[in-house]
């Protein structure tokens, strides 16, 4: 018994030590955001001597952070909403409806997951350029509105819903679309939240997309803004930089803490299927 307890104690010790190592950079970031620039540069690891909100004030004065927040939210919310709606429609057709060509459709979806996105970077850019999509919300939203991975995830879940529920609904005189909206979608909420969280975070944190397609300052997202703050005035604007880092990270962290169960679940079964 004591041997077992001692063993548990060691296990906890290692796990907690590990979590401190993982969390330390975040504490470091938050503490530095309350310092003034010279203190960040000279004493990055100390507690702030005077807790200053200087960085937060200046970041709002000098940068269009509000606008960047607005752009990021518009893009991330639209991409997430479209993905949830469109992917669950396709997933429903694949898991619950019978029609000629369904098998082929599924094969194509699985196969398309193997195409590396970077190969399409160049041709897609020239395509959007000709369509006049560069520097618009459209280019960030429409090509990201659907993903094979999301379809696959939702389909796996929907396949497990017993067909009896659908039969009952059809006997009650519901159309296919009504059955989808009233029976299958509400039952799929766990997987839909998972897909929503993953998509939202992917979109919020994306740097390569905005870097390619958004050149106008008015259109900048938070991540692109951070990149430019970092590269524009090195060393001069540390207060703003650390305040901006903290402000762009905290919303996602807060959302994550409330919904982490769904997020972690998304990965649990992934290797098995």
């Amino acid at each position: 018994m004591t041997l077992l307890r001692k063993r548990q104690l060691w296990v906890y010790l290692v796990l907690i030590l590990g979590s401190l190592l993982v969390v330390y950079p975040f504490i470091f970031m938050i503490l530095n955001s309350f310092k003034i620039g010279t203190e960040i540069l000279n004493y990055p690891t100390r507690l702030p001597r005077h807790w200053s909100l200087n960085g937060y004030h200046r970041v709002f004065e000098q940068l269009d952070l509000g606008n960047m927040f607005k752009n990021t939210i518009i893009i991330a919310v639209s991409v997430t909403a479209l993905n949830v709606v469109l992917s669950s429609m396709v997933a429903y057709a694949l898991s619950k409806l019978n029609f000629p060509g369904k098998g082929l459709l599924f094969q194509v979806i699985i196969g398309s997951m193997m195409i590396p996105g970077v190969l399409l970077m160049i041709p897609a850019y020239s395509m959007y350029y000709q369509w006049g999509w560069i520097n618009t919300y459209t280019v960030m939203i429409i090509p990201a509105a659907l993903s094979a991975y999301n379809i696959f995830l939702i389909r796996q879940f929907m396949t497990a819903i017993p067909n009896d529920f659908l039969e009952a609904s059809r006997l009650d005189g519901c159309t296919e679309i009504q059955t989808f909206l009233r029976i299958v979608l509400p039952m799929s909420l766990p997987v839909l939240s998972t897909v929503a969280i993953l998509t939202f975070m992917g979109s919020w944190n994306d740097l390569a997309g905005p870097l390619l397609y958004l050149q106008d300052r008015e259109m900048y997202t938070l991540q692109l803004g951070l990149y430019t703050i970092k590269s524009e005035i090195p060393g001069q604007n540390l207060d703003q930089l650390w305040a901006a880092l903290t402000m762009t990270t905290l919303p996602v962290v807060v959302v994550f803490f409330f919904l982490q169960r769904y997020f972690v679940n998304a990965f649990t079964g992934v290797g098995l299927k």
Partner: protein, 296 residues
């Protein structure tokens, strides 16, 4: 076809339509365009002045030492990353399996780097690991380093340091996949092994590892595919040129530079096609290796 079946089929086609349109417009068309552009000398702004050059771009990429240098860089980086993250995530998953309370909270902490953007985490990491940052201060006080070093600007250290950064950022996903695998192993297998007098190490090698094979194949394949496409990290850390001696250059960064900085989109497309071929090759080899083990 009876009315019910016809109605079902019609709904099926209606609901699949978004994917079909998406697949044709945003995947198939650009894929074909990529092949077409690889035979052309073409720039973004003057697409109508494209000039056919046959296999010129293909030959040039094969002979391009910078492209192969970039490919070597990712392989160097991923070899370290895959090894480190395998040990760390499997070790932590084994430990998490042992505890009954507080597991959820610890897992949540471990996921924080995953949800943080590359832009934020690279800036924080650079500060932490920079010459005056706490990591090097500790190494100096332990006598491992003489003085602060700018890792991002050294020829051989840039990629290993980036691999360590990536391990910190991504181990949690792999850990949770391993944990899911570990929890699905039948406990009777361990009991049987214990009755036979197998040591912890024997049980690990003969029960845990073989039973985790699906997860191991999955994460290694994902690591290879994702590693080959590394871009944001190196762009944030080393800028367009990939740092001194191009030690942080990756194929995608190179593709980006050729296409959007030098406006040579035909060449950049060819780099993309080579990259795809390399990914397909590596994934196939990896699948073959794992399948052969099973038949033995």
């Amino acid at each position: 076809m009876n009315p019910q079946k016809r109605r079902e089929a019609m709904t099926g086609y209606l609901f699949s339509l978004p994917w079909v349109v998406f697949f044709l417009v945003f995947l198939t068309y650009p894929l074909l365009l990529a092949f077409k552009m690889s035979f052309q000398n073409i720039s973004v702004t003057q697409a109508n002045k494209a000039e056919f050059v046959g296999f010129g771009n293909w030959v040039a990429v094969v002979q391009d030492s910078l492209f192969w240098k970039a490919t070597f860089n990712v392989v160097y980086n991923q070899a370290i990353f895959i090894a480190v993250v395998f040990v760390v995530s499997l070790g932590l998953a084994l430990l998490l399996k042992e505890i009954t309370k507080g597991g959820a909270l610890i897992r949540t902490m471990y996921f924080l780097p995953v949800i943080t953007s590359v832009a934020v985490s690279i800036i924080v990491f650079n500060m932490l690991s920079g010459p005056s940052g706490p990591i090097q201060q500790i190494l100096i006080s332990l006598g491992i380093l003489d003085k602060g070093v700018d890792w991002a600007f050294s020829k051989w250290w840039a990629m290993p340091v980036l691999a360590l950064f990536n391990s910190w950022k991504w181990f949690a996903i792999q850990m949770i996949i391993f944990l899911g695998g570990l929890l699905s192993i039948n406990p009777e297998l361990y009991e049987a092994a214990e009755v036979d007098g197998a040591s912890w190490w024997n049980r690990f090698c003969n029960v845990t590892l073989p039973m985790l094979k699906p997860q191991i194949v999955f994460v290694t394949t994902m690591n290879i595919i994702n590693g080959m496409q590394m871009f944001s990290e190196v762009f944030m850390m080393f800028n367009l040129e990939g740092g001194p001696y191009h030690s942080g250059l990756t194929p995608v960064l190179y593709l980006y530079k050729k296409g959007f900085n030098e406006m040579n989109m035909g060449y950049a497309s060819t780099v993309g096609i080579f990259l795809m071929l390399i990914i397909v090759f590596l994934t196939t080899v990896q699948w073959k290796l794992f399948n052969r083990k099973e038949t033995n």
